[in-house]
């Protein structure tokens, strides 16, 4: 498992080589451009601290890697720079539940 000692000030962290998502180390506005692992990526929406975005195109059904480990699978095609979360990926193990509007505990599976 990959750890990092220190951030480089870019606001973006690629936790392990080969990961297809990177992490924001501060709030990054939409349109932010960064070079990550030799690829130029422009954020399609705002990404909050700790949240993640695709650094390359990820086809539906392809594993998402973070820390050099699989954290789930793309539930639809994801473009480079796109925010990655419950709307476009799912667990290989157990479903994720979240509080939707109306405060119902619902299973988060969106088409």
């Amino acid at each position: 498992m990959a750890f990092f000692q220190k951030t480089d000030g870019s606001g973006v962290l690629l936790l392990a080589p080969g990961d297809n998502v990177a992490v924001a180390t501060c709030e990054l506005p939409a349109g932010t451009e960064r070079e990550v692992a030799g690829r130029k990526v422009a954020l399609k929406s705002r990404v909050d601290v700790g949240h993640k975005f695709a650094i390359q195109a990820i086809a539906s059904g392809v594993r998402i890697f973070k820390y050099g480990a699989p954290i789930g699978v793309a539930s639809r095609d994801i473009e480079p720079g796109e925010y990655v979360h419950t709307h476009n990926m799912t667990s290989d193990y157990l479903p994720t539940f979240t509080l939707e509007e109306g405060h119902q505990f619902v299973k988060e599976v969106k088409s």
């Binding site: 498992m1 750890f3 990092f4 000692q5 220190k6 951030t7 480089d8 000030g9 962290l13 936790l15 992490v23 180390t25 501060c26 909050d48 601290v49 700790g50 949240h51 993640k52 973070k66 820390y67 480990a69 699989p70 954290i71 789930g72 990655v84 979360h85 419950t86 990926m89 799912t90 667990s91 290989d92 193990y93 157990l94 479903p95 994720t96 539940f97 979240t98 509080l99 505990f105 988060e108």
Partner: protein
């Protein structure tokens, strides 16, 4: 070196507390009233709400009432509940600690029971003033680690920094306990590779499989809505972050709640009940697990949070390590360590790991943690069933 409290059973504590224990919900109010005037004098309220007896909760109570941080115990019983109060009282007395049982039905009701309990507390507080002190080595410490109110920063900053602190402690032969198998789903093979023996590795794989099965039956992973708000998408992503708490030392054994590690080293706590699924979710909240680690003898527990948990615990101090820089700014009065500095480029992982380690030693020497100073003493204990550990779960003879 730590200046500990020496108990007559030979164990050493870092606090000199009294626990007041209700043995059924019906005795809760009386126990709470007994504690209230003494709550800032190291008198802690714990208890078990159920009226039906249960071997797990009995063992938990035995371990908590004879915890090295505890110098005496007052048991508050309604009188007719199923808890084996006589057995518990006997165990505490055999450990050399002052202990007393107040039975509300025998004593004559609420007021008389409160008065009797408070008189015993006053007398016992005076008695505990003469508890002998003793030098205590790092190798005599038991430390737990837990995460709660996690977000995506937890696994980047606070958890790996606590893992570094664990590595420093294990190097000095402290016993370190990490949890919880329901939040290590997906990490089983990585953990097995760190096991000291292949047999222990297989036990680790089995215990995570048990957790996955249990949560699948419940229909819900150990995953809260706030985890998703904080950027965690799946249980395996949360697991990766949680796993980082364990540091990088070899794993020498498995404990179940209430099992005290027999040597120094890194242990995994298996808190998922054995046998068929019953009694509901394995741990209904973070404090259920803190109580279990403390029952394993943990003198203190490091607790990471990204969303901003405020909880402490009865019996042992909780050290809050805040992962998220935004949360720290908002809730700094509740946080002992600002690990979000790593994300902001203001500190390295190793620096924060060392800071946590130094703070652990200060807390062991009496410095109050934030949650302790704020009076947090949360406690919860539910029903469970466990089978004994298999032989491969114990550290192999060195």
């Amino acid at each position: 070196m730590i200046n500990g409290y020496l108990r007559s059973d030979g164990r050493k504590g870092i606090r000199n507390s009294i626990v007041v224990t209700y043995l059924v919900e019906c005795a809760h109010h009386v126990a709470r009233e007994i504690v209230h005037p003494f709550r800032e004098q190291g008198v802690n309220l714990i208890g078990f709400s159920g009226c039906y007896p249960n071997a797990y909760s009995h063992k938990m109570m035995e371990r908590l009432c004879t915890h090295p941080n505890v110098g005496g115990a007052l048991l508050v019983s309604l009188g007719c509940e199923g808890f084996n109060k006589g057995g518990l009282l006997e165990t505490i007395r055999q450990s050399g600690r002052p202990a007393r049982l107040v039975m509300i039905q025998d004593t004559g009701g609420t007021r008389k029971s409160i008065a009797e309990g408070q008189a015993w507390i006053e007398q016992t507080l005076r008695q505990l003033e003469s508890t002998p002190r003793a030098d205590m080595g790092i190798d005599e410490l038991i430390v737990g680690t837990k995460c709660g109110g996690s977000d995506a920063t937890s696994g980047l900053t606070a958890n790996p920094a606590m893992g570094r602190a664990f590595d420093f402690l294990v190097e000095q032969k402290a016993a370190c306990i990490f949890e919880e198998t329901g939040e290590l789903i997906g990490m089983e093979n990585w953990m097995a590779e760190r096991a000291q023996t292949p047999e222990l590795g297989q036990e680790i794989i089995n215990t995570v499989a048990k957790a996955a099965r249990y949560y699948a039956t419940m229909g819900h992973a150990s995953f809260a809505p706030g985890n998703a708000d904080g950027g965690l998408t799946t249980i395996e992503e949360k697991s990766l972050g949680a796993y980082a708490k364990s540091g990088q030392s070899p794993i020498c054994g498995i404990v179940k709640p209430g099992d005290v590690p027999i040597t120094g080293g890194l242990y995994l706590m298996d808190m998922i009940p054995d046998g068929e699924v019953r009694f509901g979710f394995p741990n209904i909240n973070d404090n259920a697990e803190l109580a279990e680690m403390i029952a394993c003898g943990a003198h203190m527990v490091m607790f990471s949070t990204g969303r901003g948990s405020v909880v402490g615990s009865a019996v042992s101090p909780i050290i809050k390590v805040c992962a998220n820089p935004k949360t720290y700014k908002n809730m700094s009065e509740d946080m002992d360590v600002d690990a979000g500095r790593i994300l902001e480029g203001r500190a390295t992982l190793d620096e924060v790991g060392k800071e946590i380690y130094d703070l652990l030693i200060d807390v062991a020497n009496g410095r109050k943690t934030k949650s302790e100073a704020l009076g947090h003493q949360e406690f919860v204990l539910m029903y469970k069933t466990f089978e004994p550990l298999g032989p491969a779960c114990f550290p192999s003879a060195a």
